[in-house]
Symmetry: C2
Subunit: 223 residues, 2 copies
Amino acid sequence: MTDKKRRETSSSQLGRRRKTARAKDQAAYAARREELIAHAAEVFSKEGYDRTTLSDIAERAGTDRASVYYYVSSKEELFQEVCSGMLEQNLAAAEEIAMRDNAPREKLELIIAHHMSTHERGFPQWSVLVQEMRRITGADTTWTRDAVEKMRRYEAIVRSILEDGIADGTIRADVPSRLAMNAIFGMLNWTHRWFRPDGQYNAAQVAAAFAAITLDGLSKDTE
Amino acid sequence: MTDKKRRETSSSQLGRRRKTARAKDQAAYAARREELIAHAAEVFSKEGYDRTTLSDIAERAGTDRASVYYYVSSKEELFQEVCSGMLEQNLAAAEEIAMRDNAPREKLELIIAHHMSTHERGFPQWSVLVQEMRRITGADTTWTRDAVEKMRRYEAIVRSILEDGIADGTIRADVPSRLAMNAIFGMLNWTHRWFRPDGQYNAAQVAAAFAAITLDGLSKDTE
Protein backbone atom coordinates (compact mmCIF):
# COMPACT_ATOMS: atom_id res chain seq x y z
CA MET A 1 0.00 0.00 0.00
CA THR A 2 1.42 3.42 -0.86
CA ASP A 3 1.60 6.14 1.76
CA LYS A 4 -1.02 8.13 -0.11
CA LYS A 5 -3.34 5.12 -0.30
CA ARG A 6 -2.79 4.40 3.37
CA ARG A 7 -3.64 7.99 4.31
CA GLU A 8 -6.80 7.85 2.19
CA THR A 9 -7.91 4.56 3.72
CA SER A 10 -7.17 5.79 7.20
CA SER A 11 -9.02 9.01 6.47
CA SER A 12 -12.07 7.19 5.10
CA GLN A 13 -12.05 4.85 8.11
CA LEU A 14 -12.08 7.90 10.37
CA GLY A 15 -14.90 9.33 8.27
CA ARG A 16 -16.90 6.13 8.83
CA ARG A 17 -16.14 6.22 12.55
CA ARG A 18 -17.41 9.82 12.68
CA LYS A 19 -20.59 8.80 10.88
CA THR A 20 -21.20 5.79 13.14
CA ALA A 21 -20.60 7.87 16.26
CA ARG A 22 -22.99 10.58 15.11
CA ALA A 23 -25.72 8.04 14.37
CA LYS A 24 -25.28 6.21 17.66
CA ASP A 25 -25.80 9.02 20.11
CA GLN A 26 -26.44 12.21 18.25
CA ALA A 27 -26.99 14.47 21.24
CA ALA A 28 -23.86 13.41 23.14
CA TYR A 29 -21.78 13.49 19.96
CA ALA A 30 -23.00 16.99 19.09
CA ALA A 31 -22.41 18.27 22.62
CA ARG A 32 -18.86 16.93 22.73
CA ARG A 33 -18.18 18.38 19.28
CA GLU A 34 -19.45 21.81 20.44
CA GLU A 35 -17.11 21.59 23.42
CA LEU A 36 -14.21 20.89 21.09
CA ILE A 37 -15.13 23.92 18.97
CA ALA A 38 -15.18 26.11 22.09
CA HIS A 39 -11.76 24.77 23.14
CA ALA A 40 -10.42 25.33 19.63
CA ALA A 41 -11.57 28.97 19.77
CA GLU A 42 -9.67 29.47 23.02
CA VAL A 43 -6.44 28.12 21.56
CA PHE A 44 -6.84 30.00 18.24
CA SER A 45 -7.50 33.20 20.17
CA LYS A 46 -4.39 32.80 22.29
CA GLU A 47 -1.92 31.41 19.76
CA GLY A 48 -3.37 32.46 16.41
CA TYR A 49 -4.57 29.92 13.84
CA ASP A 50 -1.21 29.32 12.17
CA ARG A 51 0.65 28.44 15.36
CA THR A 52 -2.09 26.20 16.72
CA THR A 53 -1.92 22.44 16.18
CA LEU A 54 -4.68 19.87 16.61
CA SER A 55 -2.61 18.46 19.49
CA ASP A 56 -2.78 21.85 21.27
CA ILE A 57 -6.57 21.77 20.92
CA ALA A 58 -6.75 18.13 22.07
CA GLU A 59 -4.63 19.01 25.10
CA ARG A 60 -6.85 21.96 25.98
CA ALA A 61 -9.90 19.68 25.66
CA GLY A 62 -8.27 17.08 27.91
CA THR A 63 -8.12 14.43 25.21
CA ASP A 64 -5.75 13.25 22.47
CA ARG A 65 -5.32 14.01 18.80
CA ALA A 66 -6.87 10.72 17.66
CA SER A 67 -10.03 11.42 19.65
CA VAL A 68 -10.31 14.87 18.10
CA TYR A 69 -10.41 13.21 14.65
CA TYR A 70 -13.45 11.36 15.92
CA TYR A 71 -15.34 14.68 15.81
CA VAL A 72 -13.66 16.76 13.11
CA SER A 73 -11.50 16.08 10.10
CA SER A 74 -9.04 18.96 10.50
CA LYS A 75 -7.96 22.17 12.23
CA GLU A 76 -9.55 24.02 9.30
CA GLU A 77 -12.93 22.39 10.05
CA LEU A 78 -12.70 23.58 13.67
CA PHE A 79 -11.85 27.10 12.49
CA GLN A 80 -14.81 27.11 10.11
CA GLU A 81 -17.16 25.94 12.85
CA VAL A 82 -15.89 28.64 15.22
CA CYS A 83 -16.57 31.35 12.64
CA SER A 84 -19.76 29.97 11.08
CA GLY A 85 -21.54 29.62 14.39
CA MET A 86 -21.01 33.27 15.26
CA LEU A 87 -21.77 34.56 11.78
CA GLU A 88 -24.98 32.57 11.50
CA GLN A 89 -26.26 33.68 14.91
CA ASN A 90 -25.54 37.34 14.20
CA LEU A 91 -26.99 37.24 10.71
CA ALA A 92 -30.15 35.39 11.76
CA ALA A 93 -30.76 37.85 14.61
CA ALA A 94 -30.16 40.87 12.38
CA GLU A 95 -32.56 39.48 9.76
CA GLU A 96 -35.20 38.90 12.41
CA ILE A 97 -34.72 42.35 13.99
CA ALA A 98 -34.83 44.06 10.58
CA MET A 99 -38.31 42.57 9.96
CA ARG A 100 -39.80 44.00 13.17
CA ASP A 101 -41.98 47.07 13.43
CA ASN A 102 -39.52 48.97 15.62
CA ALA A 103 -38.09 52.33 14.60
CA PRO A 104 -34.65 52.27 12.89
CA ARG A 105 -33.04 53.62 16.05
CA GLU A 106 -34.47 50.76 18.14
CA LYS A 107 -33.42 48.18 15.56
CA LEU A 108 -29.83 49.45 15.69
CA GLU A 109 -29.87 49.28 19.49
CA LEU A 110 -31.19 45.71 19.32
CA ILE A 111 -28.57 44.59 16.80
CA ILE A 112 -25.71 46.14 18.80
CA ALA A 113 -27.03 44.50 22.00
CA HIS A 114 -27.43 41.12 20.30
CA HIS A 115 -23.97 41.28 18.76
CA MET A 116 -22.28 41.97 22.08
CA SER A 117 -24.36 39.29 23.79
CA THR A 118 -23.41 36.64 21.18
CA HIS A 119 -19.79 37.77 21.45
CA GLU A 120 -19.89 37.34 25.23
CA ARG A 121 -21.65 33.98 25.27
CA GLY A 122 -19.48 32.44 22.55
CA PHE A 123 -16.29 34.18 23.69
CA PRO A 124 -13.69 34.10 22.20
CA GLN A 125 -15.27 32.82 18.98
CA TRP A 126 -16.09 36.21 17.46
CA SER A 127 -12.61 37.44 18.42
CA VAL A 128 -11.09 34.56 16.46
CA LEU A 129 -13.18 35.46 13.43
CA VAL A 130 -12.04 39.09 13.56
CA GLN A 131 -8.39 38.24 14.31
CA GLU A 132 -8.23 35.79 11.43
CA MET A 133 -10.30 37.87 9.00
CA ARG A 134 -7.54 37.70 6.38
CA ARG A 135 -7.82 33.89 6.32
CA ILE A 136 -11.45 34.38 5.29
CA THR A 137 -11.34 37.37 2.97
CA GLY A 138 -7.98 36.43 1.45
CA ALA A 139 -8.93 32.88 0.45
CA ASP A 140 -11.28 31.72 -2.27
CA THR A 141 -13.03 28.49 -1.28
CA THR A 142 -16.70 27.54 -1.11
CA TRP A 143 -16.64 28.12 2.63
CA THR A 144 -14.82 31.48 2.57
CA ARG A 145 -17.10 32.77 -0.20
CA ASP A 146 -20.11 31.83 1.91
CA ALA A 147 -18.64 33.41 5.06
CA VAL A 148 -17.81 36.66 3.20
CA GLU A 149 -21.34 36.67 1.78
CA LYS A 150 -22.79 36.31 5.30
CA MET A 151 -20.62 39.18 6.59
CA ARG A 152 -21.75 41.35 3.68
CA ARG A 153 -25.40 40.54 4.37
CA TYR A 154 -24.96 41.35 8.06
CA GLU A 155 -23.38 44.71 7.18
CA ALA A 156 -26.00 45.37 4.49
CA ILE A 157 -28.82 44.91 7.00
CA VAL A 158 -27.30 47.52 9.33
CA ARG A 159 -26.76 49.88 6.43
CA SER A 160 -30.29 49.38 5.19
CA ILE A 161 -31.71 50.20 8.65
CA LEU A 162 -29.60 53.38 8.67
CA GLU A 163 -31.04 54.29 5.27
CA ASP A 164 -34.58 53.62 6.47
CA GLY A 165 -33.87 56.09 9.27
CA ILE A 166 -32.49 58.66 6.85
CA ALA A 167 -35.60 58.20 4.69
CA ASP A 168 -38.04 58.62 7.59
CA GLY A 169 -36.07 61.55 9.03
CA THR A 170 -35.00 59.92 12.30
CA ILE A 171 -31.34 59.42 11.30
CA ARG A 172 -29.24 62.36 10.13
CA ALA A 173 -28.63 62.45 6.40
CA ASP A 174 -25.29 64.28 6.43
CA VAL A 175 -23.34 61.19 7.60
CA PRO A 176 -23.11 58.72 4.68
CA SER A 177 -24.72 55.40 5.65
CA ARG A 178 -21.62 53.50 4.52
CA LEU A 179 -19.42 55.44 6.94
CA ALA A 180 -21.94 55.09 9.78
CA MET A 181 -22.11 51.33 9.15
CA ASN A 182 -18.30 51.07 9.17
CA ALA A 183 -18.15 53.11 12.38
CA ILE A 184 -20.61 50.75 14.08
CA PHE A 185 -18.78 47.60 12.94
CA GLY A 186 -15.50 49.27 13.90
CA MET A 187 -16.67 49.68 17.50
CA LEU A 188 -18.09 46.16 17.61
CA ASN A 189 -15.21 44.34 15.96
CA TRP A 190 -12.46 46.21 17.77
CA THR A 191 -13.78 44.69 21.00
CA HIS A 192 -11.72 41.63 20.00
CA ARG A 193 -8.70 43.60 21.27
CA TRP A 194 -10.01 44.52 24.69
CA PHE A 195 -13.38 42.99 25.67
CA ARG A 196 -13.33 40.03 28.05
CA PRO A 197 -16.47 38.44 29.57
CA ASP A 198 -14.88 38.72 33.02
CA GLY A 199 -13.69 42.27 32.41
CA GLN A 200 -14.70 45.60 33.92
CA TYR A 201 -17.79 45.99 31.71
CA ASN A 202 -20.16 43.23 30.60
CA ALA A 203 -21.65 42.90 27.11
CA ALA A 204 -24.85 44.75 28.05
CA GLN A 205 -22.89 47.72 29.41
CA VAL A 206 -20.64 47.87 26.35
CA ALA A 207 -23.67 47.63 24.03
CA ALA A 208 -25.45 50.42 25.94
CA ALA A 209 -22.38 52.66 25.66
CA PHE A 210 -21.96 51.93 21.94
CA ALA A 211 -25.63 52.56 21.23
CA ALA A 212 -25.52 55.82 23.22
CA ILE A 213 -22.45 57.01 21.31
CA THR A 214 -23.72 55.91 17.90
CA LEU A 215 -27.18 57.37 18.29
CA ASP A 216 -26.86 60.32 20.69
CA GLY A 217 -23.15 61.08 20.71
CA LEU A 218 -20.87 62.02 23.58
CA SER A 219 -21.43 65.77 23.65
CA LYS A 220 -23.65 66.82 26.49
CA ASP A 221 -25.04 69.92 24.79
CA THR A 222 -26.67 67.74 22.12
CA GLU A 223 -28.92 65.86 24.48
CA MET B 1 35.89 29.81 7.37
CA THR B 2 32.74 28.26 8.86
CA ASP B 3 29.30 29.13 7.48
CA LYS B 4 28.44 30.92 10.69
CA LYS B 5 31.69 32.92 10.59
CA ARG B 6 31.08 33.74 6.92
CA ARG B 7 27.55 34.98 7.70
CA GLU B 8 28.83 37.12 10.55
CA THR B 9 31.62 38.61 8.44
CA SER B 10 29.23 39.23 5.59
CA SER B 11 26.73 40.81 8.00
CA SER B 12 29.35 43.10 9.53
CA GLN B 13 30.55 44.08 6.05
CA LEU B 14 26.98 44.99 5.17
CA GLY B 15 26.74 46.95 8.39
CA ARG B 16 29.86 48.90 7.39
CA ARG B 17 28.50 49.49 3.89
CA ARG B 18 25.25 50.86 5.41
CA LYS B 19 27.27 53.20 7.63
CA THR B 20 29.48 54.43 4.78
CA ALA B 21 26.47 54.99 2.53
CA ARG B 22 24.65 56.95 5.24
CA ALA B 23 27.66 59.17 5.84
CA LYS B 24 28.29 59.80 2.13
CA ASP B 25 24.96 61.23 1.09
CA GLN B 26 22.65 61.30 4.04
CA ALA B 27 19.66 62.89 2.31
CA ALA B 28 19.61 60.53 -0.67
CA TYR B 29 20.20 57.52 1.56
CA ALA B 30 17.38 58.52 3.91
CA ALA B 31 15.01 59.18 1.01
CA ARG B 32 15.72 55.82 -0.61
CA ARG B 33 15.29 54.11 2.75
CA GLU B 34 11.92 55.82 3.24
CA GLU B 35 10.86 54.58 -0.19
CA LEU B 36 11.79 51.04 0.79
CA ILE B 37 9.74 51.34 3.99
CA ALA B 38 6.74 52.48 1.94
CA HIS B 39 7.18 49.56 -0.48
CA ALA B 40 7.53 47.16 2.44
CA ALA B 41 4.22 48.44 3.88
CA GLU B 42 2.49 47.75 0.57
CA VAL B 43 3.72 44.16 0.45
CA PHE B 44 3.03 43.52 4.17
CA SER B 45 -0.46 44.90 3.71
CA LYS B 46 -1.19 42.66 0.74
CA GLU B 47 0.52 39.43 1.79
CA GLY B 48 0.77 39.72 5.57
CA TYR B 49 4.12 39.91 7.38
CA ASP B 50 4.70 36.15 7.63
CA ARG B 51 4.28 35.43 3.94
CA THR B 52 6.37 38.40 2.82
CA THR B 53 10.06 37.90 1.95
CA LEU B 54 12.74 40.55 1.56
CA SER B 55 12.90 39.50 -2.11
CA ASP B 56 9.19 40.40 -2.51
CA ILE B 57 9.92 43.84 -1.09
CA ALA B 58 13.02 44.25 -3.27
CA GLU B 59 10.98 43.30 -6.33
CA ARG B 60 8.25 45.80 -5.46
CA ALA B 61 10.94 48.46 -5.01
CA GLY B 62 12.45 47.59 -8.40
CA THR B 63 15.73 46.44 -6.91
CA ASP B 64 17.34 43.25 -5.59
CA ARG B 65 17.67 41.66 -2.19
CA ALA B 66 21.35 42.60 -1.81
CA SER B 67 20.53 46.27 -2.39
CA VAL B 68 17.81 46.15 0.25
CA TYR B 69 20.44 45.04 2.79
CA TYR B 70 22.24 48.25 1.93
CA TYR B 71 19.43 50.11 3.73
CA VAL B 72 18.05 47.73 6.34
CA SER B 73 19.31 44.66 8.14
CA SER B 74 16.10 42.59 8.02
CA LYS B 75 12.40 42.27 7.24
CA GLU B 76 11.79 42.88 10.95
CA GLU B 77 13.59 46.24 10.75
CA LEU B 78 11.32 47.27 7.86
CA PHE B 79 8.25 46.22 9.85
CA GLN B 80 9.38 48.21 12.86
CA GLU B 81 10.01 51.29 10.73
CA VAL B 82 6.55 50.97 9.14
CA CYS B 83 4.88 50.87 12.56
CA SER B 84 7.11 53.30 14.46
CA GLY B 85 6.69 56.07 11.91
CA MET B 86 2.89 55.98 12.20
CA LEU B 87 2.86 55.59 15.98
CA GLU B 88 5.28 58.45 16.54
CA GLN B 89 3.38 60.82 14.26
CA ASN B 90 0.04 60.07 15.90
CA LEU B 91 1.40 60.25 19.42
CA ALA B 92 3.27 63.51 18.81
CA ALA B 93 0.17 65.12 17.28
CA ALA B 94 -2.08 63.93 20.12
CA GLU B 95 0.36 65.27 22.70
CA GLU B 96 0.49 68.62 20.94
CA ILE B 97 -3.32 68.81 20.55
CA ALA B 98 -3.87 67.84 24.20
CA MET B 99 -1.79 70.86 25.28
CA ARG B 100 -3.90 73.39 23.37
CA ASP B 101 -6.56 75.65 24.81
CA ASN B 102 -9.38 74.10 22.75
CA ALA B 103 -12.44 72.54 24.36
CA PRO B 104 -12.33 68.72 24.79
CA ARG B 105 -14.80 68.30 21.95
CA GLU B 106 -12.55 70.23 19.56
CA LYS B 107 -9.49 68.32 20.69
CA LEU B 108 -11.21 65.03 19.91
CA GLU B 109 -12.19 66.32 16.47
CA LEU B 110 -8.60 67.39 15.82
CA ILE B 111 -7.15 64.02 16.91
CA ILE B 112 -9.63 62.06 14.77
CA ALA B 113 -8.86 64.30 11.78
CA HIS B 114 -5.12 64.01 12.30
CA HIS B 115 -5.28 60.24 12.68
CA MET B 116 -7.18 59.78 9.42
CA SER B 117 -4.88 62.21 7.63
CA THR B 118 -1.72 60.35 8.78
CA HIS B 119 -3.40 57.07 7.82
CA GLU B 120 -4.13 58.41 4.33
CA ARG B 121 -0.72 59.97 3.70
CA GLY B 122 1.25 56.96 4.95
CA PHE B 123 -1.18 54.39 3.58
CA PRO B 124 -1.04 51.44 4.07
CA GLN B 125 1.38 51.81 7.00
CA TRP B 126 -1.24 52.20 9.74
CA SER B 127 -3.19 49.28 8.24
CA VAL B 128 -0.10 47.09 8.56
CA LEU B 129 0.28 48.08 12.20
CA VAL B 130 -3.35 47.17 12.96
CA GLN B 131 -3.30 43.97 10.92
CA GLU B 132 -0.14 42.77 12.59
CA MET B 133 -1.07 43.99 16.09
CA ARG B 134 -0.50 40.52 17.53
CA ARG B 135 3.13 40.61 16.38
CA ILE B 136 3.52 43.70 18.57
CA THR B 137 1.38 42.93 21.61
CA GLY B 138 2.25 39.23 21.62
CA ALA B 139 6.04 39.65 21.63
CA ASP B 140 8.30 40.93 24.38
CA THR B 141 11.28 42.78 22.94
CA THR B 142 12.65 46.27 23.59
CA TRP B 143 10.96 47.48 20.42
CA THR B 144 7.53 45.87 21.05
CA ARG B 145 7.50 47.14 24.65
CA ASP B 146 8.19 50.65 23.36
CA ALA B 147 5.52 50.35 20.64
CA VAL B 148 2.91 49.08 23.13
CA GLU B 149 3.83 51.93 25.49
CA LYS B 150 3.32 54.46 22.65
CA MET B 151 -0.10 52.96 21.81
CA ARG B 152 -1.09 53.13 25.48
CA ARG B 153 -0.01 56.76 25.71
CA TYR B 154 -1.95 57.60 22.54
CA GLU B 155 -5.07 55.95 23.97
CA ALA B 156 -4.52 57.53 27.38
CA ILE B 157 -4.44 61.01 25.85
CA VAL B 158 -7.82 60.44 24.18
CA ARG B 159 -9.26 59.06 27.39
CA SER B 160 -7.90 61.96 29.41
CA ILE B 161 -9.52 64.47 27.01
CA LEU B 162 -12.82 62.60 27.42
CA GLU B 163 -12.44 62.87 31.18
CA ASP B 164 -11.67 66.59 30.98
CA GLY B 165 -14.95 66.92 29.09
CA ILE B 166 -16.84 64.92 31.69
CA ALA B 167 -15.30 67.10 34.38
CA ASP B 168 -16.22 70.40 32.69
CA GLY B 169 -19.70 69.11 31.79
CA THR B 170 -19.31 69.15 28.00
CA ILE B 171 -19.05 65.33 27.63
CA ARG B 172 -21.78 63.07 29.02
CA ALA B 173 -20.83 61.26 32.18
CA ASP B 174 -23.04 58.19 31.73
CA VAL B 175 -20.76 56.61 29.09
CA PRO B 176 -17.58 55.35 30.79
CA SER B 177 -14.50 57.07 29.32
CA ARG B 178 -12.82 53.71 28.76
CA LEU B 179 -15.70 52.51 26.57
CA ALA B 180 -15.87 55.82 24.69
CA MET B 181 -12.12 55.62 24.06
CA ASN B 182 -12.42 52.05 22.79
CA ALA B 183 -15.33 53.04 20.55
CA ILE B 184 -13.27 55.84 18.99
CA PHE B 185 -10.22 53.62 18.41
CA GLY B 186 -12.55 50.93 17.10
CA MET B 187 -13.87 53.23 14.38
CA LEU B 188 -10.38 54.49 13.54
CA ASN B 189 -8.57 51.16 13.54
CA TRP B 190 -11.29 49.24 11.73
CA THR B 191 -10.63 51.50 8.72
CA HIS B 192 -7.74 49.12 7.97
CA ARG B 193 -10.41 46.77 6.57
CA TRP B 194 -12.15 49.18 4.20
CA PHE B 195 -10.52 52.62 3.87
CA ARG B 196 -8.48 53.26 0.73
CA PRO B 197 -6.97 56.67 -0.19
CA ASP B 198 -8.49 56.35 -3.68
CA GLY B 199 -11.84 55.12 -2.32
CA GLN B 200 -15.29 56.71 -2.24
CA TYR B 201 -14.53 58.89 0.79
CA ASN B 202 -11.26 60.64 1.59
CA ALA B 203 -9.69 60.89 5.05
CA ALA B 204 -11.25 64.28 5.79
CA GLN B 205 -14.74 62.98 4.98
CA VAL B 206 -14.27 59.87 7.09
CA ALA B 207 -12.92 61.94 9.98
CA ALA B 208 -15.87 64.35 9.76
CA ALA B 209 -18.33 61.43 9.83
CA PHE B 210 -16.57 59.77 12.78
CA ALA B 211 -16.43 63.03 14.72
CA ALA B 212 -20.12 63.70 14.00
CA ILE B 213 -21.10 60.21 15.18
CA THR B 214 -18.85 60.24 18.24
CA LEU B 215 -19.86 63.67 19.44
CA ASP B 216 -23.40 64.29 18.18
CA GLY B 217 -24.67 60.81 17.29
CA LEU B 218 -26.73 59.66 14.35
CA SER B 219 -30.21 60.34 15.71
CA LYS B 220 -31.75 63.43 14.20
CA ASP B 221 -33.92 64.29 17.18
CA THR B 222 -30.83 64.86 19.32
CA GLU B 223 -29.45 67.70 17.20
